[in-house]
């Protein structure tokens, strides 16, 4: 069971989910956000003491207008780890969270010795453009994000009453808060120069990718593997970008290799 807590930072109070016991692990969510019921958190909490902070603007977290660019967000997230009282936790990130985690590991290579990157953003290959999530309509998402679009659509709408007239406005506000913040590092192209800094990463790194990821194609897995010294790649069949939902156990097993 994940518990919602708050920790103070220089910028805004940050909300985070905490649960489980074992080695400390920090999990950074993707651009779509995170809920306390996310199966990967539950699964990781069986083996680790999980801390999953919300990026400002996500969940109920306050927005932090002063976090404008990649450096601001990287330093802020290092601050969060520090404020949580953690020293060299296992650092795991999914998608946008993986981009932030990579930046943290490149910026502070002596503080981060284990890195789990689940289909991270952060690189750009001209021949393999990453999907533009900012121009993607909600109904188009499942086919891009899941190996099984039908099951994915059901997961995305679970617990939401889409016929509620207030739903649209609530959805738009949440989208503006979340993706408004994400856009500062992902829009219009999710490349803020990580490639030129990756040589600094010293962490033992596991890269996890779904074979049918249509949002960030698996060719990027090779690129992360190539650019981070000693990185190991775990490819997961029949899984899309939301591999954390579709193949939760396999993702958790891969992360456990960092223990």
């Amino acid at each position: 069971m994940m518990e919602l807590k708050t920790v103070k930072t220089e910028h805004v109070p940050v909300q985070y989910l905490e649960g489980g016991s074992g080695q400390p692990l920090v999990y950074l969510h993707g651009a779509g956000g995170m809920t306390a019921g996310d199966p990967l958190l539950t699964k990781l909490a069986e083996s680790f003491h999980v801390h999953a902070p919300y990026l400002p603007g996500y969940g109920e977290s306050e927005e932090a207008p002063e976090l404008r660019d990649m450096l601001d967000i990287t330093l802020h997230t290092l601050d969060v780890v520090d404020a949580l009282g953690l020293k060299d936790p296992i650092l795991v990130g999914h998608s946008m969270g993986g981009m932030i985690a990579s930046e943290m590991a490149a910026l502070a290579p002596h503080d981060i010795s284990r890195l789990g990157l689940i289909c991270p953003s952060g690189l750009w290959l001209d021949d393999h453009p990453i999907v533009d999530i900012f121009a993607t309509l909600p109904f188009e998402m499942p086919a891009l994000m899941f190996h099984d679009a039908v099951a994915g659509a059901a997961m995305m709408t679970a617990g939401r009453n889409v016929s509620d007239p207030n739903f649209l406005q609530t959805y738009l506000v949440q989208n503006a808060r979340q993706l408004g913040m994400a856009g500062r590092i992902l829009f219009p192209i999710p490349d803020r120069g990580l490639a030129s800094r990756m040589y600094r990463i010293k962490a033992k790194t596991i890269v996890v990718w779904g074979d049918s990821d249509r949002a960030i194609p698996p060719v990027y897995a090779q690129e992360f593997k190539r650019r981070i010294k000693g990185a190991q790649l775990v490819s997961i069949p029949e899984a899309g970008h939301m591999v954390i939902f579709e193949k939760t156990d396999q993702v958790a097993d891969a992360i456990k290799r960092l223990a």
Partner: protein
């Protein structure tokens, strides 16, 4: 009243099956649909029409900025305005406007507007839109949630560049300039009047009120649907204790088609109105509103992009839908006069941006409609707000004595003058 004749400059040859075969008229529109040689004629005809409108009684002629857009082939309105400045005499040049967050550095806007003001003899009305999400975010790559901050900084820089008389350093977040010292600067003092196109955000209302700028609502959906939005603005004007509620604090864009009779209007203009409303406005909804572009406050007040799909999705709009719904004011001069009066009084707007070229309308029909409006409608609307007749805060102040193009002496006179100088 101030009437500005406006041309969006639509591409006139979008195919009949455009909506079925293309996802958007904007941002990722098919390159194959553009023909540069055809554009040579299109641009020149559109500029001729703007110049024509400047001779028949409109107060201004208007241009605007869009990018990668099949209904607005004017990425640089300043280029068009420069051409118009030379070929028109006393009409205002309403550039509505330059999307100032897109210029790097934005002193470029201060400079180009100053050039236009100097060339035209003080005839510039300047517009500073934030820019649509399609233009600003998707075409020009600005980060949605930082666009407004960048816009605000650009505005501060431009106004300072226009008004300060010493070189200054500008240490902005988005602009680091050691020496700001524009040459030329505008004729109009302290600077040309400013109009701000807005789409219902409270922040923009306040920005206009605080700076004495005119708030322009440039929608295509007509005056009936605009009522709530402009009422929101006027409520805000009252709430913020603005010194007055002059109708010139607001402007509105309206599609207008005039013929001898209502029936004739439908017969003449329906194909072009249909082309515009059912083909040109086909914008992929994913481009309408990048998350973060609108503020939370604005979304909570229910102001959605006019490019977002209507509830129930898109359907083909008929002439009756468009005329009765007020998207289009069309008909005989008397019909148009009545409805324009409803618009002007109902919205309390002193600046009207008349969208008189519609879709793929050919020049002859456009001239016909323009002439009828200028002669048979406009004179009856001139003095709707007599108590505000002296309010000149929102309009240009041209020089009394203007230089004329073609001022050179004949070659013979020039040679004689040179000879004389050498004696």
């Amino acid at each position: 009243m101030k009437f500005t004749w406006f041309n969006l400059m639509p591409w006139p040859d979008l195919p009949d099956d455009f909506r079925e075969k293309n996802r958007s008229v904007w941002v990722d529109i098919d390159q194959n649909l553009f023909d540069p040689e055809r554009a040579h004629t299109v641009y020149n005809t559109y500029m001729d029409l703007l110049e024509y409108a400047g001779t028949v009684g409109f107060d201004g002629i208007g241009v605007n900025e869009h990018h990668q857009n099949g209904y607005g082939i004017m990425p640089s309105p300043n280029i068009i305005a420069a051409g118009l400045a030379r070929r028109t005499k006393d009409t205002a040049l309403v550039v509505l406007g330059n999307s100032i967050a897109l210029y790097n550095p934005p002193v470029r806007v201060a400079e180009e507007f100053a050039m236009l003001d100097c060339i035209s003899g003080g005839r510039l009305v300047a517009g500073f839109p934030v820019g649509t999400s399609m233009d600003t975010n998707f075409c020009y790559g600005q980060i949605p949630s930082l666009t407004r901050e960048k816009y605000a900084e650009a505005h501060e820089l431009i106004i300072r560049a226009w008004t300060e008389r010493e070189p200054f350093a500008f240490n902005g977040r988005y602009n680091k300039l050691r020496y700001v010292n524009i040459w030329p600067r505008p004729i109009q003092q302290p600077h040309p009047p400013v109009h701000i196109p807005g789409g219902g955000s409270v922040e923009t209302y306040d920005f206009c009120i605080d700076n004495t700028y005119s708030y322009s609502y440039l929608s295509f959906s007509g005056y009936i649907r605009a009522k709530a939005l402009l009422q929101g603005y006027w409520d805000r004007v009252a709430e913020r204790n603005a010194p007055d509620a002059s109708p010139y604090r607001a402007g509105f864009a309206q599609t207008i088609c005039v013929a001898e009779t209502d029936e004739e209007a439908e017969r003449l203009y329906w194909p072009h109105v249909n082309y515009f409303y059912n083909r040109c406005l086909h914008v992929y909804p994913g481009f309408a509103d990048a998350p973060g572009y609108r503020t939370i406050k604005t979304i909570q007040t229910g102001a959605l992009s006019q490019y977002a799909p209507p509830r129930g999705g898109y359907t083909e709009l008929t002439w009756k839908d468009l005329v009765e719904g007020g998207h289009v004011i069309a008909g005989s001069p008397e019909t148009v006069r009545q409805r324009m009066e409803d618009l002007i009084k109902g919205l309390n707007v002193g600046n009207i941006f008349c969208l008189m070229h519609v879709g793929n309308m050919p020049a002859d029909k456009c001239m016909y409609s323009t002439k009828l409006f200028a002669e048979k409608v406009l004179p009856h609307l001139r003095n709707i707000f007599p108590e505000w007749a002296d309010d000149d805060r929102f309009w240009c102040k041209p020089l009394n004595k203007m230089a004329k193009p073609g001022s050179l002496p004949s070659e013979r006179d020039a040679a004689e003058a040179v000879s004389a100088a050498l004696v």
